[in-house]
């Protein structure tokens, strides 16, 4: 069991870099069509928008922690809602190099759930360029 994430006085998980999420690890971001996609008729393609890499109003961008899933016998696509949802993976080192925090957020739905904190508009484009497709979302080309 990983070490407990830090919490505030209300019990809410606070932004942190979890020591057991290593720099060499990858996190998985779900890509939800059609709204996460940017159709580009001029370039004749539909790509993932940088907006797909935004934080929720509760704080943090929701991700899955891939190595922890693998160690528990789960494949990368285990938590994808259905076959239309795509996914990209981003290396934790790249996110932390931008000054972002990558931590554990088990309150977010499952034990392999993580979060990335500190994302501003300028980070989203960089994350989108670093992200590697694991599975294309429906409509993505």
């Amino acid at each position: 069991m990983p070490s407990a994430p830090p919490r505030d006085a209300n019990g809410k998980i606070t932004p942190h870099d979890h020591p057991e999420i290593l720099d060499d690890d990858y996190v998985l971001r779900h890509i939800v069509p059609p709204h996460d996609l940017h159709p580009d008729p001029e370039k004749k393609m539909t790509r993932v928008s940088s907006g797909a890499y935004s934080e929720s109003s509760d704080g943090g961008m929701s991700v899955d922690i891939l190595r922890w899933m693998a160690e528990d016998g789960l494949n990368a696509e285990h938590y994808l809602a259905d076959e239309t949802v795509g996914a990209t993976r981003i290396q934790v080192r790249s996110l932390r190099a931008m000054g972002l925090k990558v931590g554990w957020d088990p309150d977010g739905g499952h034990p392999h759930h993580g979060a990335v904190w500190g994302i501003k508009q300028t980070h989203r484009r960089k994350i989108a360029k670093l992200a590697v497709t694991v599975r294309k979302a429906e409509g993505e080309t």
């Binding site: 779900h30 996460d36 940017h38 907006g51 935004s54 929720s56 929701s62 484009r125």
Partner: protein
């Protein structure tokens, strides 16, 4: 009544309702002047960008809390309304329609893409916007922040780079 008498009454009335101390107590308050529209409603209706933009905004309007099962907030109606007002002000008649992408905090991002670069306008709340232009220069991408205190630069970037 004689004109002299009327003038006297006027003077007395003026003095009684406008004493000097009233003027001293008056204060100056800023008056908000609505920014004139660059595109009149008739121009918007003739434009090629209006219909697809309305369709895109309508498509994301019904998104509720956790619409993506990633914890995203519902898309805010006031953000959509503000986005339209912004576009009416900055878009030329032949401007390219933007893509509208919902963000996790209930805001939206308006995006344009061309061979010259990409423009992204984030709208978190009405009047809380930020914009980045990713310009293509000799095969490299250069990130240029666009000032948003006025919308003139936004209009200029769209006019120069994103026309149908």
């Amino acid at each position: 009544m004689s004109s002299m008498a009327l003038r006297t009454i006027d003077d007395e009335w003026y003095q009684s309702v406008n004493p000097v101390n009233e003027l001293v107590r008056s204060s100056i308050k800023p008056v908000v002047v609505t920014r004139p529209q660059l595109s009149s409603p008739s121009v918007v209706h003739r434009s090629s960008w209006a219909r697809p933009t309305v369709d895109r905004l309508i498509a994301i309007a019904p998104l509720r809390d956790n619409w993506d099962q990633r914890g995203s907030a519902a898309v805010r109606a006031d953000v959509l309304s503000f986005a339209w007002q912004l576009l009416v002000q900055i878009m030329p008649e032949d401007g390219a329609a933007p893509v509208a992408v919902p963000l996790g905090n209930g805001g939206i991002q308006l995006e344009w893409s061309s061979n010259r670069g990409d423009l992204e306008i984030e709208i978190a709340r009405p009047f809380e916007i930020s914009a980045l232009f990713f310009q293509q220069r000799n095969g490299d991408e250069v990130e240029i922040p666009i000032q948003t205190e006025t919308w003139d630069q936004l209009a200029e970037v769209i006019r120069e780079n994103f026309r149908s």
